[in-house]
């Protein structure tokens, strides 16, 4: 285990009121694995990762609870307790990140070579010339043709797919142990998506990086994840190995999602089953199961409190009071 997040609570004090964005997020990341995070927009995927990286704008945001341990030589360090300076060292150092929209995370006025080289100089204490040399190698590695010359290009001179390659180069430049990729292919065409997935997987193997991959596309999850977190209403509602999740989903929301997409349950000819209703209103504090208003299995207990994330089988956890398979309420088991 290299990262463990416990009961993370993040809120935004906006003009419309308090946005209860994260309501106790729990998960762990193992060395070298690919952890996919799925969930509809607003379910808290980005806010979770931004909370870890110290990127929540405060105000209006506030991290109000929880811990996020980064393990180094088994020595845990709580990311949420670090100073601004210490977080900066982790960000781009031990943890690299890639966002959906590379243009907004790249500095438009600085050549991309310089942006990569600077972070190498900062995090790895390289000299100017070493940093340049390594940057050119890295640009080649991520598939930028004519890397020597492209070193001096500005972000706007690259296409969407190429910019994402530059982002990837920046993310892995300082030999991180973790790369967090937030919907890195959502804005790209499928053919370019396939290129980017292949690239990240190759680098991951070469460098032994653990990847957290946020997406809303279950097919992408199926194609590249080892393990999956399903988020809903600012909580993790299911956590399972990828094959388990698709073969044996435990949470009613996950079950619904798999029936709502073509091809997951059969040949893609049967009628899709939609999940009626819409995602929860995060302007209210969660005091019951966030999925209760849309859940076909809802019963008394679901309205009484928030279901904890409990172990269903060895590597499979779900936050639901109901055992859908056996059609009975679940016995409360130990947390964890």
């Amino acid at each position: 285990m290299i990262l463990q997040v416990k009961d993370l609570i993040t809120r935004f004090y906006s003009v419309d009121g308090v946005v209860y964005a994260l309501n106790g997020v729990n998960f762990a990341l193992n060395a070298g694995e690919t952890l996919a995070v799925v969930g509809e927009s607003g379910s808290g995927k980005s806010v979770t990762m931004m909370s870890l990286l110290g990127l929540i704008p405060q105000p209006p945001g506030k991290i109000e609870g929880g811990q996020a341990f980064l393990f180094e030589n088994d020595k845990p360090q709580d990311l949420l307790k670090l100073s601004e300076r210490q977080v900066r060292r982790v960000r781009g150092g031990q943890i690299g990140f890639i966002f959906q929209d590379p243009i907004s995370s790249l500095n438009p006025t600085m050549t991309i070579g310089k942006q990569i080289a600077e972070s190498m100089i900062e995090h790895l204490s390289l000299s100017q010339s070493d940093a340049r040399k390594r940057t050119v190698d890295l640009l080649k590695e991520v598939g930028i043709a004519d890397a020597d010359r492209r070193f001096d290009s500005y972000p706007h001179e690259f296409s969407g797919g190429m910019r994402q390659r530059v982002m990837i180069a920046i993310a892995v430049a300082c030999q991180p142990r973790i790369v967090i990729a937030d919907e890195p292919t959502t804005a790209l065409d499928v053919t370019v998506q396939a290129q980017i997935i292949e690239l990240i997987q190759r680098l991951q193997k070469q460098l032994g990086i653990a990847v957290i991959w946020i997406t809303h596309d279950l097919a992408v999850v199926a194609s590249m994840a080892d393990r999956v977190l399903v988020m809903y209403g600012g909580t993790v509602v299911e956590d399972a190995l990828v094959e388990d999740l698709f073969d044996n989903p435990q949470h009613p929301y996950t079950i619904g999602l798999l029936k709502a997409i073509p091809g997951a349950t059969g040949l893609g000819e049967e009628r899709l089953e939609s999940i009626e209703g819409s995602p929860p209103d995060l302007l209210r504090e969660l005091t019951s199961c966030p999925f209760a208003p849309r859940c076909q299995f809802v019963f008394d207990q679901c309205w009484a409190k928030l279901p904890p994330l409990i172990s269903v089988t060895k590597h499979h956890r779900a936050a639901c009071f109901y055992d859908v398979e056996n059609e009975i309420p679940r016995k409360e088991v130990e947390h964890g």
Binding site: E40, S41, S159, G161, M162, D189, V190, T191, V192, Q193, A194, Q195, E198, H216, D217, L218, A219, V220, V221, A222, S223, M224, A225, V242, E243, F246, G256, L257, L258, A260, I261, P262, G263, A264, G268, E269, R271, L272, E273, S274, I275, E276, S278, P279
Partner: protein, 341 residues
């Protein structure tokens, strides 16, 4: 002789956008060949989908078919009437029958108008009925698309993305169209909501006998809801076939690569799957490659492909392909089956 089952017949449709390039003294106009000689037919009551990477001309085709863009050349026959030759007035009279639903539900709805006004607007514009009958029709339409008529005084921002798309659909259906172009109507929606809207579109098609031209980039959704599929690349149709044939036996290298790139929501299958990964990105349509427009990325290109434009022709009934390597004996060209179904 016209097949009387065909509702829309598109023949050699072209839409070029002139754009000015260069600095003041060196000005030149170049043509963006967004749609470059596209032909297809849509049968009464069916769904023909247009797929392909962004920028390949899907939306422009949809708009040119509806005459929202004036075609550069070519014909669009609707019930054997050539829309490209109609006057403004004639087109206006026909407009109720041919409608469009857009991807971006928020941009296509006036934020200052109530839902009642938005859905009733086409009826007012086309002068159909009195205030009372229009009101009743709005109630009927809202019920039809699964919106509570009690909400008709609300404004677009008070609705979720899925509900806004229902408002769009209701408006498109206000005048009882026969033919609807749906331009990525679910792309901006969450997964759980996409199924709601797709099912609604399917139900409405059955109920009202609608004919759809469905533009999309999500191939699995296309497989779910289409009858036939046309694959576009750089302004041209590369392959067109009925859904089953196209997904099980794609002949064009581009179709095969595209399908190979699409992940399937089945981890076990994905683990075993070999992908053909296309290199590079789609070139600009203002400077399309010579010969076969796909040759710069085609894994199978031969010399001829850089000079000769492959003829788009029927290989067998209902299955057309534009590729030099596909011969009439329906041989598949890429030896390994790409879509491991």
């Amino acid at each position: 002789m016209a097949d009387n089952n065909v509702l829309v017949r598109v023949k050699n449709l072209k839409k070029f956008f002139p754009i000015k390039q260069g600095v003041i003294f060196n000005r030149q106009t170049i043509q963006v060949k967004a749609v470059n000689d596209v032909s297809f037919e849509i049968k009464q009551g069916e769904t023909l989908s247009l797929v392909g990477e962004s920028g390949c001309g899907k939306s422009t085709t949809g708009r040119a078919v509806l005459q929202l863009h004036k075609p550069t050349s070519g014909q669009v026959l609707y019930e054997d009437q050539d829309l490209t030759t109609l006057s403004e007035g004639e087109l206006r009279a026909l407009r109720p029958k041919i409608q469009m639903i857009f991807q971006d539900s928020i941009a296509s709805l006036n934020p200052r108008h109530s839902v009642r006004k938005i859905i009733g607007e086409p009826l007012v514009i086309h002068n159909v009925g009195t205030a009372k009958t229009i009101h009743n029709r709005v109630v009927e339409l809202m019920e039809l698309v699964g919106l509570n008529p009690k909400w008709m005084k609300r404004f677009p921002h008070e609705f979720s993305g899925g509900q806004r798309q229902r408002i769009n659909i209701a408006r498109a259906l206000a005048l009882n169209p026969s033919f609807v172009v749906c331009d990525e109507p679910i792309s901006a929606l969450d997964v759980s909501i996409q199924a709601q809207v797709v099912n609604l579109l399917k139900d409405l098609q059955q109920q009202l006998g609608l004919t759809y031209l469905f533009i999309a980039h999500d191939l699995s959704m296309v497989q779910y809801l289409s009858d036939r599929v046309a694959v576009m690349y750089l302004g041209k149709v590369m392959e067109l076939a009925d859904k089953r044939t196209l997904f099980s036996d794609p002949l064009h290298p581009y179709t095969q690569s595209l399908m190979s790139a699409v992940p399937l929501p089945q981890p076990k299958l994905e683990r075993k799957r070999k992908r053909i990964i296309l290199q590079g990105e789609v070139p600009s349509p203002s400077n399309a490659p010579s010969g076969c427009v796909f040759h710069t990325r085609c894994p199978l290109a031969i010399d001829r492909c850089t000079t000769d434009v492959p003829e788009y022709r029927q290989i067998h009934l209902g299955h057309s392909v534009a590729c030099h390597l596909v011969d009439d004996q329906q041989s598949s060209i890429i030896p390994t089956r790409l879509n491991s179904k």
